[in-house]
Amino acid sequence: MSPGLSLADARARLPFLVAVEAEPAEEARLLERLCDWCSRFTPLAALDGADGLILDISGVAHLFEGEAALVEDCLKRLAAQGIAAVAGVAGNPRAAWALARFSRQKIAPEILSDKAFAKLFHDLPLAALGLDDKTVADMARAGLRLIGDIALRPRAPITARFGAVPIGRLDALKGLERSSIAPRFMPPDFCAERRFASPIETLEAIEATLRKLADDLVVLLERQAKGARRIELSLYRVDGDVRRIRVGASRPLNEARAIARLFAERLASPHEDAIDAGFGVDLMRLSCLAAEPLAPSQVELDRAHEAERARALADLIDRLSARLGARAVTRRTLVEAHLPEQAEAAAPATLGEARTRGDATLLPHSPSRDGRLSTPYAGEGVRRSRSDEGERGVPARPLRLFVRPEPIEAVAEVPDGPPLRFRWRRVLHDVAAIEGPERIAAPWWRRPDAPTRDYFRAEDSQGRRFWLYREGLWGRETLRAKWFVHGVFG
C-alpha cells in the first residue's frame, strides 16, 4: 500500500479495506483544535502543513521535567483523545520536523556537535529536508539519496544543478539559518496558570482557582505598573476541549477582585452556555492580552470622591457588559445625517471615554483621538458632529422613535396640508395643535427615488404628542400621500 494507489487496486490487494472519504476541511479544523489544545504546553503553537503542528518549547520544557517527559506527556494525552502522533524535538523547527517524520531517534541532544549531527541526520532520506517529490526524484537519479550524500559534497555543483533550496534546507537543518514559526495565537503579555494533578469539575473550584490566578496576574502587572484591558481565561479540559472566555475592561484593571468578578459575571451569565467541565479541567490559564499603563492615581482630595464614582461606574459597565453582552450596554453619539433614524449611533460602553486599542473583533467602530467613537462609515452622507455640546440647538425630536414607522390613517384639509385627525393603533386622535412641516429628504445620491418626508409635530386634544410624517410630495412624487407615525414625544 502506498499513496497514489487507486481505490480499485487497493481493494484488489486488501479485500477488507475500509474506505472513508477524505474531508480536508474537517481535518484542518481538527488540526486547528489540536493546535489550540497544544497551547497548554506553550503559548507558541503553530500549524505546520496539513498534518503537523510545531510548538516552540524553548524555556518551557523544564516545567514538564524535561523534553522527553514533555513529549511523552503530549503523546499520551493525544492518544487518550484517540489521536496517534509522532513527535520530534530539536533545536530548530526544520530539524524537529525531520526527526519526527523520518528518524528513529526522536529527540536531538541539546548540544549538537558535527559528529552527532552526522550520526543523527546523515542517514535520513533527502525527503527529510522537506523537498518536493520532483527534486527528490531528480536527485535520486543523480545518485543522491541520503542527506549525507549532499552534506559531504561540495555545495556549488549541487546548487548549480538542483537550485538553492536543498542546500538552504540543509543549512536550516543545521540551525545556520534563522527559521521562525507563525503561532496561531500571539503569546500574551502576562499570564498565570494552574495545573491540577486531578482534574477539577465544579464551578466553585473553577471560581476559586480564578481568584488565585487573578492574584498572580496582578502581581505580574504591578511590577510594570500596568493594568489589564483585555483578559482571557482558558480552560483546558481533559478530553482536549479548550474553552476561552474573553472580557474587556473599560479602564486598566489591576485589582484581582475586579478581574475575578468580571469572569464570575460571565460564568454566571445566562447567555453563556454554562461551563461544562465534562471530565474535568486540568489546566486553567489567565492571560492578559492587552495591558496599559495605569493612570496616575488621583491625588487631589476634593476630586477623589468623584474619581471613586467614575471608577465605580467603569467597573459597573464592565460587569453589566460581561453579563448582558457588550452590545447591550451602549453609549450613543449624534451623527449628522438627514434621515432621523440615522441620526444617532450606538457603541459598546466598555470602550468608554478611555483610550482603547482598535479591537476589530469587538466592534465595527473605531475610537477617534478625542476618545469619542466615530463610525468610519455609518451611512450615506454621514458626518460626525463636532461636539456633543452643540446639541442644544437641535430641532424638536421625539423621545421615542419607532424602529419601523407605523402607518396611520390621517385626514387632512388639503392633500399637502397638516392632518386634522388620525387613527393610530385603532385610536382616533384629534389634532389640537400642530407644527410643521419639516421637510426631510433622503440622500438623493444614494437613493434617488426615495420619497421626501414632511414631518409634523402634532398634539392631540389630550396632550399626547406624536411625530407624524407624510411620505411623498403631493402632486410631484405621489398622488395618494401615505401617513406614518415615526415617534412619540414625552
Binding site: 450596554v329 421615542r400 422613535l401 404628542r465 415617534g487 412619540v488
Partner: protein, 306 residues
C-alpha cells in the same frame, strides 16, 4: 399588653431594624433632596431624596410616554447635580413595541447624550438585576429603569432596590410602564410614587392655522410619599410666628390633599433650564408652608433618623 408597653415594644423593634440596617452598611447620612416644584416639594419633605427608589406610573396606557418624559426630566435634574453618568435600563423588546429612546429627542428633552449609558436587558429579571447592581455600585448619578413586565416586581424586589439605592446613595427612578391605573393599589417599598398623565401643553398661538404645541407638560399626582423626616420637629414650636399647628400635622394635611385623586399638579418641563414650571392657575394654589427644612433656625432635618 398596655398601650405604653406596645409602644415600647415598637420602639425596640425599630431600634433592632435600625441596627440590622446599619450592619448592612447603610449610611446614616441624610439624603440630599432634589427640588421639583413647590406644590410637590412640601409634600415630599423638601424634594426627592437622592438615595431612594421613586416609582412613576402612567395614568393610562397612552400616558407611558409622558411618564417616561417625567422620569427623564427628573433624571436630567439629578444629572445636573453630579458629574457622573446616568444609566437607562430597559427591556430589549420594548424598543420594538413602543419605540426606542431616541438620542436627538433626549437632547431636546434636556439630557446630555455623552452622559448616558443605555442598558438593554433581555428580560425584566435581568433589568432588575442590572438596576440593583448599578445602584449598589454608587457609580451612576441616577439609574432610570423602564420595566413593562412587572410580574417579578414585588415588595421584596422593591425593597432590594431601595436598599441598593441607600447603599450606593444613588437615586432610582423606576417607570412602571404597564402599571397604568394601578398606582394606588400597588404595594412596594418605594419612597415615592407618582402617577403621570399627559396634559395639553401651553399652546403657542400661530399666525395662521392651528396653534403650535408648547413644551412638555404633564399632570403629576403624588400617590405615595413616605415621610419620616419631620418626626423630631413635631414638638418644636414654629419659629416664624405663624399660628399654624405642628409641622407634622401640616405635612399630613398637605399629603392628604395630594393623595386626593382629583389633585394633580400640572408641571411644565423647561428643558433649557432643567426646571419644572408649575402652573398655579391649573389648580387652586398649594398651601405655602415654611417647613422645618426651609427655616434656618429650626432643627435640621439632616440630623433626623430616617
Amino acid at each position: 399588653m398596655s398601650p405604653s408597653g406596645s409602644a415600647e415594644g415598637m420602639a425596640r423593634l425599630r431600634r433592632a431594624v435600625a441596627g440590622i440596617e446599619a450592619g448592612a452598611g447603610l449610611s446614616e447620612r441624610a439624603p440630599r433632596r432634589l427640588k421639583l416644584a413647590r406644590a410637590l416639594d412640601s409634600a415630599l419633605g423638601g424634594g426627592l431624596a437622592d438615595d431612594a427608589l421613586h416609582e412613576i406610573a402612567p395614568a393610562e396606557p397612552a400616558d407611558e410616554a409622558a411618564a417616561m418624559g417625567f422620569a427623564l426630566a427628573l433624571a436630567a435634574r439629578f444629572l445636573s447635580q453630579r458629574p457622573s453618568a446616568g444609566l437607562v435600563i430597559g427591556e430589549g423588546f420594548a424598543a420594538h413595541e413602543t419605540g426606542a429612546l431616541y438620542g436627538p429627542g433626549l437632547i431636546a428633552h434636556g439630557l446630555t447624550l455623552s452622559r448616558l449609558v443605555f442598558v438593554e436587558a433581555p428580560d425584566a429579571d435581568a433589568a432588575f438585576w442590572a438596576m440593583e447592581e448599578a445602584l449598589k455600585s454608587g457609580g451612576p448619578a441616577a439609574v432610570i429603569g423602564e420595566i413593562w413586565n412587572l410580574r417579578g416586581y414585588s415588595l421584596a424586589a422593591s425593597r432590594r432596590l431601595l436598599l441598593a439605592a441607600r447603599k450606593g446613595r444613588t437615586p432610582a427612578l423606576l417607570v412602571l410602564a404597564s402599571a397604568y391605573g394601578q398606582a394606588e393599589r400597588m404595594s412596594s417599598a418605594a419612597e415615592t410614587r407618582f402617577e403621570i398623565a399627559a396634559l395639553p401643553s401651553a399652546r403657542i398661538p400661530a399666525a395662521a392655522g392651528r396653534d403650535l404645541p408648547g413644551p412638555f407638560a404633564c399632570g403629576a399626582r403624588l400617590v405615595k410619599a413616605r415621610l419620616t423626616v419631620f418626626v423630631d420637629a413635631v414638638d418644636s414650636p414654629s419659629k416664624d410666628g405663624r399660628p399654624s399647628g405642628r409641622p407634622m400635622d401640616r405635612v399630613r394635611a398637605q399629603r392628604a390633599r395630594l393623595h386626593d385623586a382629583a389633585h394633580a399638579v400640572r408641571l411644565e418641563w423647561r428643558s433649557e433650564n432643567l426646571a419644572f414650571h408649575e402652573d398655579l392657575a391649573f389648580d387652586d394654589p398649594p398651601i405655602s408652608l415654611s417647613l422645618a427644612a426651609a427655616s434656618g433656625d429650626g432643627p435640621r432635618p439632616a440630623s433626623q433618623p430616617r
